[in-house]
Amino acid sequence: MTAPASPRIQHAAQDAREGAPARAVYVIVAHPRWRDSRVNRRLLEAARGIEGVDVNDLYSTYPDFSIDVAAEQRRLARADLIVLVHPIYWYSMPPLQKLWFDEVLSWGWAYGQDGHALANKDLWLVASTGGPEDSYRPDGYNQHPFAAFLPAYEQTSHLCGMRFLPPQVLYGARRCDDAALDAHVGEFAGRLATYPHWPELISMAHAAECQAIPSTDRPHFSPAEAMDTNAGTGRAA
């Protein structure tokens, strides 16, 4: 088994060194076929170039689709900003990224009873699409604005008490010219380095913890009834 590389993260220093974000950032880049990538590979390099940012190339860490949940939860717990970088596949995220959500954002940790691990964090999507911007219009061949494909991302954030920040999207990623690509990567790097001092965040309210799930939707878990084994997260990375 290839063990995931243990994250070498330096905690964001209080004195905010030059070029390092003032708060902890975890960037998850998911691309199933790096050799066909044009945009995301640049974003990955850019993220790795910034001091103090924890970067996870998801498909290289878990090529076998067996995710180390405990390690991922530790990385998430440390972060203030969680960044999802991936191409949009069939109007959604690549499969390993979806699996990551399914397994890492577990009940009792990310949501549900005593599940507050992600509360007050920010989730930011940096996506690239094959279709050009004008395909994401009512009269375009994708029939909907891009934002119409994002309710799943938004609601996931909401349920875990996170803010879903305005996504940064590069349309027509396969054909855009190099200047547009450079601009996209530059913007991305700049935002990572300056988080949380983004103009749009000043006016954005903190996320309210979602309390709207009736308790009957989930089996009530009480540790007393549980087996005397360490269920769940007792694994060493």
Partner: protein, 621 residues
């Protein structure tokens, strides 16, 4: 006392002696054989004098040796026997001839008449099958190189016994009144050939239907009776034509080795063999003539030590020629150095013209003493010699005896079985582990694993291990033959229990599949794929794509293996299938590469000479 029939009293004495002395001897680390011999000495004419008629008991108990060879035959399929033909005839004749020549020369040099020297040399050249096989079984040697060699030589001795016995009348001084004419001799030979042919043909054609018919009667004790009858009948036949009973039994065993009743026969005969062999050793103990020993102690000791040393010399030479591992040579040498039960037969049937009674009883005493000495010497080797080689003599392990009831039984706990077991245990799965290598078990126990000692190819041990109620059985032994044996047992007796098996190679995989095993893994397939992945990553491939490529190969290979299975007996056909499969896969991969290349050109406008990540685009030049 008068009201107690003699046979009852005799049984009481024999059984009591065995039950008291053997556990004692085992506890002292001397092994069971010495225990039986000691029990024999204790109750014999030179001990408490409780029993008489040693001769009769000895003849009766010799049947234990016959049963033992029948069981040995059962373990040997004709194919394996055929593959052993070189060691049997080559090394076997080297050992017998080497020993006989040395002993004969020594005898003549010491001034014995040449006839006596020759008979003595031939008699003493043979070893004790009973002792050697018993020791090998006790020490788990049959799988080792020296075990195989020893077994081959013992087998040859059983064959060699026939001409030796035929030679005896020719040595008789008197102008041979029984001189056989050419016709009678031809008749004799014809009889021998006829009997062997009858056994082979009968075994091939009649035995299996007969056994099936008996098995279908569903009376277990009748099957046991039939098994015994079979051996007794064959032994009788062999006696009639003057051949070795043991050899006949061995032949019958080989013929039944491939039959579906092999396991039942084994399980049924085993206890008889054990007891009769025990009785045989007791009888040997009783027949040690301490009178001769006390009359000429020095001479006796000289003869015993002398002939064992000479034999040892010859056998050690053979073991060097055979290039046996040097640390196995001492045990191997000792294993064959003693005189055998066959010597008794030779000396008794030589007759007074060739061998004067005094000499004969002296020699029989010497042989019996050597039989007593060799297990003792083995103990000495274990204690003093082997530690100097930096290796332990195999510790005597207690076989699995408490019935187990885990959900999973793992047979073989080497590198393969260990990973399986260690994966399951933390998941709360109950596992019973069987292994037959004492050294492995010793070290595993030090690491805190609970491993039972036992040969998983034995039906009774599988039952004790709880296979009947297991939810899965893992065959992880590294020996192909043993693995197939266990698979056969599983199919025969526990067809409803799922079997998960390790295959050494594709051929083994097909053989397992033929036996209905569903879950088979080639032992290095997945790890080799992993290494291929690592190579691709070293070439700069992203991990996920390296995985995808090797998985594509894996799928194609598994599919190809499936396609090859129907024709796996036909090498040419198999090669053709394999070549075609490989060609198709390569073409498919080339097509996919070209597709992706074209796609990149269309969408990115790259020229494709280099992929964007700086790795060479992987097209064929």
């Amino acid at each position: 006392m008068e009201h107690v029939p003699a046979w009852l009293l005799a049984s009481l004495i024999y059984l009591a002696a065995a039950v008291i002395v053997v556990p004692l001897s085992r506890a002292l680390g001397l092994g069971a054989i010495i225990g039986y011999l000691a029990a024999g000495i204790a109750i014999g004419p030179w001990g408490l004098g409780l029993v008489s008629r040693v001769e009769d008991v000895l003849h009766f108990a010799e049947f234990g040796v016959v049963l033992m060879l029948f069981l040995v035959g059962l373990e040997l399929e004709p194919r394996r026997l055929w593959s052993l033909r070189r060691p049997i005839f080559g090394w076997g004749s080297a050992q017998v001839a080497g020993c006989a020549v040395l002993l004969f020369a020594a005898g003549v040099a010491l001034g014995a008449p040449w006839r006596i020297a020759l008979v003595a040399a031939l008699g003493l050249a043979l070893s004790s099958t009973a002792i050697a096989l018993q020791v090998m079984a006790e020490r788990n040697m049959l799988a080792t190189a020296s075990g195989q060699a020893g077994f081959s030589i013992l087998l040859f001795q059983d064959v060699a016994a026939i001409p030796i016995l035929a030679l005896l009348p020719l040595l008789a001084n008197s102008v041979d009144s029984h001189a056989m004419t050419g016709t009678t001799r031809a008749l004799e030979a014809l009889k021998i050939v006829g009997v062997i042919a009858a056994i082979v043909l009968g075994g091939r054609l009649a035995l299996r239907p007969l056994l099936r018919w008996i098995a279908n009667s569903r009376t277990p004790e009748i099957f046991t009776a039939a098994a015994l009858l079979l051996v007794v009948a064959i032994a009788t036949l062999m006696q009639l034509v003057g051949l070795s009973m043991a050899l006949g039994a061995f032949l019958a065993g080989v013929l039944l080795a491939e039959s579906e009743y092999r396991r039942e026969l084994e399980t049924d005969i085993e206890p008889f063999k054990g007891l009769l062999l025990g009785l045989f050793f007791i009888a040997v103990g009783m027949s040690i003539d301490f009178g001769v020993l006390l009359a000429q102690p020095l001479r006796m000791i000289t003869v015993v030590v002398g002939f064992m040393a000479l034999k040892g010399l010859a056998i050690y030479g053979v073991s060097r020629l055979m290039q046996l591992p040097y640390q196995e040579r001492p045990v191997f040498t000792l294993l064959l150095a003693q005189g055998g039960e066959f010597a008794f037969v030779v000396f008794q049937s030589a007759g007074p013209q060739v061998l004067p009674p005094a000499v004969s009883s002296f020699l029989i005493g010497a042989v019996a003493l050597s039989m007593l000495l060799s297990p003792l010497l083995l103990v000495a080797i274990d204690k003093w010699l082997l530690p100097r080689y930096g290796m332990k003599g195999s510790p005597r392990m207690e076989e699995i005896s408490e019935p187990q009831s885990a959900n999973v039984v793992i047979c073989g706990f080497g590198r393969y079985g260990q990973i399986v077991g260690r994966t399951l245990v933390p998941q709360g799965v109950s596992v019973t582990v069987l292994d037959h290598d004492p050294d492995t078990i010793e070290s595993l126990r030090q690491f805190g694993f609970r491993v039972f000692y036992g040969d998983a190819t034995r039906l009774d041990l599988l039952r004790i291990a709880g296979v009947a109620n297991a939810r899965a059985v893992v065959i992880a032994v590294d020996d192909v033959d043993q693995s197939l044996e266990i698979a056969d047992l599983m199919r025969e007796h526990f067809p409803e229990v799922p079997v998960v098996a390790r295959a050494r190679n594709v051929g083994h995989l097909f053989q397992l599949r033929e036996r209905g095993v569903q879950h088979i893994e080639r032992e290095v397939f997945e790890s080799s794929l992993r290494s291929a992945r690592s190579v691709l990553e070293a070439l700069g491939w992203p991990a996920a794509e390296a995985r995808e490529a090797t998985m594509a190969f894996r799928r194609a290979n598994v599919q190809l293996t499936d396609e090859m299975y129907p024709s796996y007996q036909d090498r040419n056909k198999m090669i053709a299938t394999a070549k075609e499969g490989r060609r198709q896969f390569e073409e498919q991969m080339a097509r996919e590469r070209a597709m992706r290349h074209a796609q990149r050109q269309v969408t990115f406008g790259w020229d494709g000479e280099r992929a964007p990540d700086g790795t060479k685009d992987d097209r064929h030049a």
